[in-house]
Amino acid sequence: MAEPLTQAEPARAADGQAQQRLERLIELQFGFVWRLLRRVGVAEADADDAAQQVFIAAAGRLGDIRAGSERAFLFSTALHIGARVRRSRTRQREDFGGELEAHTDPAPTPDELLDRRRARELLDTMLEEMPLELRVVFVLYEIEQLTSVEIADVVGIPTGTVASRLRRAREDFAARIARVEARRKFGEGE
């Protein structure tokens, strides 16, 4: 079959560029989006699907996303989708009468902390109690290791606000760590 070679060619080249850009975006940022979803409270079992939804949204709007602003788009989309997934999970948890919560021990032993999964569960429990606007700055800085300027760009807030939120988040987190450590010491002394 004769290939239409007229006006379709430029559009096809643009398709190729869009696909290449999308593929690169996913390969570079999938881990970032996935971990962000996890740290804002999306369960591990839901994180793959949630991350996929984020990139499907990005694919649908790729032409509108300015080069250099991809991570900001992914960030805000991930928060929206993460919120939806969490609401869904909360409903399920309510249906189970809170049984899922019962497995979270706030004061694990040192041996348990060797288990990275267990450590992440404890971290997520602590982060869950932190206000979201502090939590995202904390996660982006302390875990994703973005700079303050990058966080300002991604979240869309001034760098001064990043600094103040990070300071408050650290104070909040330090207090939670101190409480857990105090419980551990108390438990060991018993």
Partner: protein, 259 residues
Amino acid sequence: MTDEPTRLLDESDSELLRTLLGAAREEQPQAAALRRTLTAVGVGVSAVAVASSSSASTGAATTAAAGGASLAAGKAAVPTSLIVGKWLGFGLITGLVATTAVYTVSDAMAPARPVEPPAAVVLPPPTSVAAPIVPTPATPASTAPSSEAPPAAVSAILPAPSASVSEPEPSLAAEVSTLDDARHALKAGDAIRALSLLERYEQRFPDGRMLPEALFIRMEAFTRKGDDSGALAVAERIVRSFPKSPHAARARALLAAAK
């Protein structure tokens, strides 16, 4: 930046704190999840090829993958993207019907795909401080009163939409949810229900963010229903309205195959 505070993982005396942050930093998604996402959005020629034969995809990941699997499956069958316009030829429409089956076969049999190095990176590297700051106030985004709106806590940290970044609006979750339902229906073999849901989607979100995706699923639903003229009409619409969309190549191939 010189006044950047030292990260807690590097400076804290608390072993517990370092353990927790270190565990979080090490956490990675499985490679199969990334590949499924590549497949779901219809990119990554050999992404399908590598799609792990080990882990069975579940939930929305699977259903979303089904939405884009036809394209990827076609690509897997002819592993050079240079002849993408010919990969399915006249049998494309028929091939669409067998999307899931083809995907499964290629999924299980294809060889591993070498990961391309991120050359010519579009995105700023994580350490870059050269990215321009968008001077938007840290005020809460407008509160759109919708049952599907994100919780106030989410809106509170997002700035007002700026011209430089396409911010998703509160209806995005509803859009995604509706399309998920349509995908589920299509996967279950109920193309009529999928089409009904997609029609409802367009009525509810005439300027929807996910419209290209919705049209793509609709094209597939028409094909599965055996309504070739409907599928071609949607393909023309995709090409006309979203010529740069990742789905446009697939739509063009469908149109070319029908000529």
